[in-house]
Amino acid sequence: MIAALRCVIVRDLRLAARRSSDVMTVVLFFVIVVSLFPLGIGPEPKLLRTVAPGVLWVAALLASMLALGRVFAADHADGTLEQMMLGATPLGLVVAAKVFAHWLVSGLPLVLISPVLALQFDLSQELLGVLALSLALGTPVLSLIGAIGAALTLGLRGAGTLLSLLVLPLYVPVLIIGAGAAEAAASGLGGHAQLLLLGAMLIFAGAFAPWAAAVALRISVE
């Protein structure tokens, strides 16, 4: 079973590496959206420092949502997904492996680049770590919840817009707690409570979301 999971992860990573422009598009989208905000709201450093966590979080959320369509679409189109459903490995575990691989190529780059972008907003150094840590804990939750939406909208017309309508309201708690971590740290309260809550969300979503997404896949493919 572990071998099967490793196989899924390695396969998805290799596929992503062969189409590396897809990965770059998501990262560039994130960079551009974040850079647009100072242009829109003005270069006042004090203002930028206050809005930085929120801006980075909203941009990361939108970027990871844009990438969601690709979690199952290609496998659905060429029939691989049906073979995975027929296979001996429980579908929930396969989904978990696919989501993990998807996070590695679409979520992790955002986490790694976020400190650099936060410098544009003149964020202090200790806050950079809290912000990156909150994104590192939060973006997997976004991928996990998003996988349910991606599975439900598989093969539908207008799937992209529909997906955002389904998934964005469910992202709200992650956004609030995630952006709150750096804000709490900035105000001297320390972001530990928020980071712990994000960790709890990650465990909760990790336990239940792959299973729900597997049910959704069976509904969509049957």
């Binding site: 349910i148 529909l162 389904l166 309201p169 707690i177 709490a184 729900a212 959704a216 509904i219």
Partner: protein, 246 residues
């Protein structure tokens, strides 16, 4: 004698029953609404602090209750449909969604109208307002998903799963928003009313919530009847009713 629990789970037997129930609850809704509005406008005393503007409470609070309650009922039917694979459960869930969205919208709209005289602003990012707004988005998502899927069986199941995921999320959303709000601005605006409430006010509010209950039941059953006819139009019994109505 054993009871057949599934007797009314078939559209054919439920259709006439739904018609009779819808009529009965519709009449009850009109009566309760008339009584509740009479108490609200003429019997209940003027509030000492807010004057007459508080009277919107008789619409606002029952609508907010119904908006949340209907989402749970919708998720209940959705779960039932997934568990027992009954056709009617999915139809009930999709019949409830527009009524739930309507009440969510009414609660937001009247809340905004009430907020202007009471707090001096149309909108605050209060925990309840925000979670009510997100609830509206959840209803919209449910309806949009069902509308996008052509096969009604798949639409029912996909919607059911979304409703169940949503119902798990609603408390998380509520608490995260509440916490976020207190972190930001503290309790500058409190929605809680005076601790003691005149008995007539409470009576008017309760009667209005019964009116909204009855209206919801009637509207949902009527909508379910339409969905049943639409989906089963090829069958004998539905054709019989469709011709009878025409």
């Amino acid at each position: 004698m054993s009871i057949n629990w599934f007797k009314y789970s078939s559209p054919q037997t439920f259709f006439p029953l739904a018609g009779r129930l819808a009529l009965g609850f519709g009449v009850l809704a009109v009566l309760a609404c008339a009584a509740g509005l009479y108490i609200g406008f003429f019997v209940a005393p003027t509030d000492a602090q807010q004057g007459e503007s508080y009277r919107i409470i008789f619409i606002h609070v029952p609508a907010a209750w119904m908006s949340m309650f209907l989402y749970v009922v919708m998720a209940f039917w959705a779960g039932l449909g997934l568990a027992f694979n009954t056709r009617l459960s999915g139809m009930m869930a999709s019949a409830i969604a527009p009524t739930g969205a309507l009440f969510t919208f009414i609660a937001l709209w009247t809340g905004s109208l009430w907020g202007k005289p009471a707090w001096g602003t149309w909108w605050v990012w209060d925990a309840r307002l925000t979670s009510e707004l997100i609830l509206l988005f959840l209803y919209f998502g449910f309806m949009a998903l069902q509308a996008a899927i052509d096969d009604p069986r798949r639409a029912d199941k996909a919607g059911a799963l979304l409703a169940l995921v949503g119902v798990v999320n609603v408390p998380i959303i509520y608490f995260s928003v509440k916490w976020w709000n207190t972190l930001h601005q503290g309790a500058s605006v409190s929605l809680t009313k005076a601790p003691t409430m005149a008995t007539t006010m409470l009576a008017g509010m309760l009667i209005m919530s019964f009116a909204f209950w009855f209206y919801s039941i009637a509207a949902v059953l009527l909508r379910a009847r339409c969905i049943m006819l639409e989906r089963e139009h090829a069958s004998d019994w539905a054709g019989h009713y469709a011709r009878g109505a025409a």
